[in-house]
Subunit: 327 residues, 4 copies
């Protein structure tokens, strides 16, 4: 299980209208558009030296093709293939050249049905970190994490921690000590991958790192002045869990984006995962603010790596779908 | 009508437990306690050279004794007395020495029944603006404004603008062009005094100026860590009306405090008051966030300047009590 | 002496290259360009509803044509003319229509030789305060003040305070209690007009108000990324005097601009002017940072209202040209 | 060379007066005092779950006893001992219990003579990250890095990269391509350990991470209001190298502390180290500000792990001691 997975590196996601998506992601949020064609827009943050961390793909319906992880050594792709095959999970190779800007890639479904991909190489491009004249909107710095709703958090947790070598920084339990949500990381902050109990597998949100809390305030102002007020779903606020300052947005297709700043270093193996009770009002929002129903209920389906059809969505194993205080 | 009223200068307000109030106002919010006795706490902000801008008075029940305005010349107090008497409104003198730290004071009820007071002198004390080691919590700088719910905004507006010489910076109208709320000022920012349609007269909130938007974020964090999460009623957010960044809090007695930063200069008489439609979702919160019902419904009663009894509360003349989008 | 001068409202200043100036003021600093022709650029801040607060005029050499004050009533322009004539100072009328966007204007030289102008009307335009998508660079909000080096600060102080009705918020004295500098205001913050001892009269800088301290940090980053690093002359820092957070810039012609945020309300006539000793290291920069020699020595000449020639520059009456700790 | 060194974890440093040091580090800067005795103060940041990251030790003279690195597995301490011994470098064991709060420790001198220590265990304590009511001063979050002046940067670089397994994020070269400085990391940001050319070995500074840029501004204000203005040596500013927002302070004994926020993620092995020319004016301070002479010339000596005497200081191999633009 010693796969040197570096970090979550990209998401490949459908949108129904590329121009409308560009207005939201590039003009309003301040992503850098690395390149585009009539079927794709490739986006990155100001800090990123990689070609992209978000691929928007034109399609009739929403759906997520893959969550991509960057791996240190190419030889490990085969080891990963074996692991997933040993669990009876689908795998598929995409050869170098078959996807823009990344090398040979292993696509799989994980134990929850989530389509993942593993690759070692992505083209590098100019990093815009000190091109401050290009900063606008939310001044997106880099991809930070993805959060998925899954029907069985315990099962997902076990697979990522025990098989893939993720570490857990924080987790949420029900009153009878069942795992309701978990924050797992490979890179050294709170998470690359979070799981929460719910109808799934579905992509709940992609989180992007910002440079400072005032960028979130400015993002709200810019979004509102451009007519995107109703796309602000939740926040700004402080998460109890992770301590990050956050904002949740819905893109024009309803896909959820989190703007995220200010969690902490998780380099030390002696750091004990922090347990939160699902009914602690400071867990979700440290200040006590409640998330809206849509935040618990709505998410984006995943697509089968072979058929492209929506992955079947199952009911969660734990009955409690929300903290008590929001019910 | 040329009364040189300078600005709103203080509020005298009941609390039921002085120690509990001190923990909230001084320890959590960062007010400076100028002095106190067993019946009062006198509070000021870091910028204020005046003895206080908020008097907390121990009492069995909540209630506001007076909203105090500072006037430039003492001779005008008599002129003000005549104006209020000419309208058949109650007036009362409080001689120099009868109230801690302020000179001779005229108390009156205005056309909505709100108890006001006018005075010219308040003791001065050390200004703590550059005593940064004393900054904590919200780092309260100074009193900025008060907002009152009144049954007839048009009537209150006319009296303050035409008789007392306030200027209007912004106002809200219903679809049939009736004044639903108005922001009126003597000093050169958006308001000293706001009125909004509702059961009244009641004190809706007292607004205090902060030095920058991040002080509001930090205030939320400190409040939550001290267990005041449920005292955060609304925000943080950006007001469409006034453009200020704001947070609404309820003190331990339920009195509402606004933390406020970032409106604009209103020095120029050629600045045309900005009209907002009550149903414009960007009016209250520029980002589209909805205020909770409590924000529209709950407020603090005023007390009669003679009897000390609660001033009678009347139903508003305009039926619409909230914007449509929050109903 | 009861002239209802509202505030400093504009500066008319030469630049030698309009395109180069536009790159600095509009592209880098974020001024709004209201309009321009082949001889002028008219600039305003995001908060301003007036046509402009800075006129850049194409010329062979640098020089300032006028510091403009807005006055409440047109009738007072004649009273002002009489005042200046009674002191034997030059006056000149510029009729309505002779200057873009402003009405009938009185130009004069003050007791230090500084060209001033007084007018009551300026065209109004759309205020961009909530057009957050247009915010860039330093996000300039509005003109705040001008600072002039004059040979005799005491004389300038007396004229502005006793004849023109300015109030003093703070001042600097030498060890033998001579006025070395003074901060004077009509609007309700620290200054519209400051004077400091030095070769003069010369325009030391024009100060523009920003919305928050982080805008100054971002301005530095943007300036540096656009190659204007050497235009940053001093700061960022906190002024002891005024308590503002500041940055001093030199435009491509060497004219000095201050970015300024966070002073305090000066509405109350009982606020006693704050005295600073010129040799107090916290006066200039609260943190103790020293200003460079250029900041004391370099400034822009004024131009005669009749001849357009440079106003003669005299040596200061006080010998001390800098605080001791920077010598 | 596969030592799983996690990160720089602490510094053990002399101060001549514990009370005076406490006022600076705890009262002004906001470190948490975990515990103290009459010879030591143990300090940590708000984010740290470890017992301390800075030990102040009472002594007659300044001097640094050790820079401490946390290592993942205890077995590697012996491997590290062998490495250092194989290079002819001094090593010394400090058994569990011999130092407060940390386990068995290997002390060594590195190739530049710097005293290092390696340990795997430190007592854990309550993390104060969400105890916002305790935030004050600079709101120190955690130790980030140390920077040492050494006579031969190339030699130090080779040892840390090739023998100890550090990665290089950025480096500075002279015009003839000699390494003048290098930023090396084990954890995933810009550095744990930096080296710069100069008389050495000496500790140039210890860098502490802050949560946001405004904390640095507030720290300056608090330091100045407490009389520590002259302890601010350089900044605030933006580093070109690392992109961090910074402030350099001198403690009451002259030891240098950096407040640091906002570098970037260095998780990816395909990130190419960024080369800077020593004479690039944006390298040190992106905005072009010059560091004072003291910043290049003054530093704290290291102490021998056996004798406790000052480690001999040698002249640097590269003649250029400063960028050209500051000479």
């Amino acid at each position: 299980m010693d796969f040197s997975i570096i970090r979550v590196a990209r998401t490949v996601m459908n949108v129904t209208d590329l121009d409308r998506a560009r207005e939201f992601y590039v003009d309003a949020l301040g992503f850098i558009e690395t390149e585009s064609d009539d079927q794709h827009i490739y986006l990155r943050g100001l800090e990123e030296h990689c070609h992209h961390s978000l691929v928007l793909k034109k399609a009739e319906k929403t759906g997520v093709h893959a969550i991509g992880y960057k791996v240190q050594e190419e030889g490990q792709l085969e080891s990963l293939e074996k692991l997933f095959q040993s669990k009876g999970l689908k795998t598929k190779w995409m050869e170098n050249g078959s996807q823009r800007a990344i090398g040979k890639t292993l696509r799989v479904h994980d134990v929850s049905g989530i389509p993942l991909e593993f690759f070692t190489k992505m083209e590098t491009v100019e990093r815009m970190l000190q091109r401050y004249e290009m900063y606008k909107g939310a001044r997106i710095q880099r991809i930070d994490h993805v959060n998925c709703q899954v029907p069985d958090v315990e099962k997902a947790y076990d697979f990522y921690v025990k098989e893939l070598g993720f570490a857990c920084s924080e987790y949420t339990e029900t009153e009878d000590d069942k795992k309701w949500a978990a924050w797992l990381h490979r890179k050294q902050n709170v998470h690359d991958q979070a799981f929460m109990n719910g109808e799934g597998p579905r992509l709940h949100h992609i989180g992007f790192w910002l440079s400072d809390p005032l960028s979130i305030i400015h993002a709200c102002d810019v979004l509102a002045s451009l007519g995107y007020g109703s796309n602000i779903e939740r926040g700004p606020g402080r998460h109890g869990l992770s301590n990050a300052f956050f904002l949740y947005l819905r893109d024009p297709d309803g896909n959820r984006i989190e703007l995220y700043n200010g969690d902490y270093l998780t380099s030390d193996p002696d750091f004990k995962p922090i347990r939160w009770d699902i009914n602690d009002p400071r867990r979700q929002t440290f200040w006590g603010h409640k998330a809206p129903d849509s935040w618990f209920e709505e998410a984006t389906p995943f697509l089968d790596i072979e058929t492209g059809e929506e992955v079947e969505i199952k009911n969660p194993t734990l009955k409690q779908r929300k903290p008590e205080f929001v019910i």
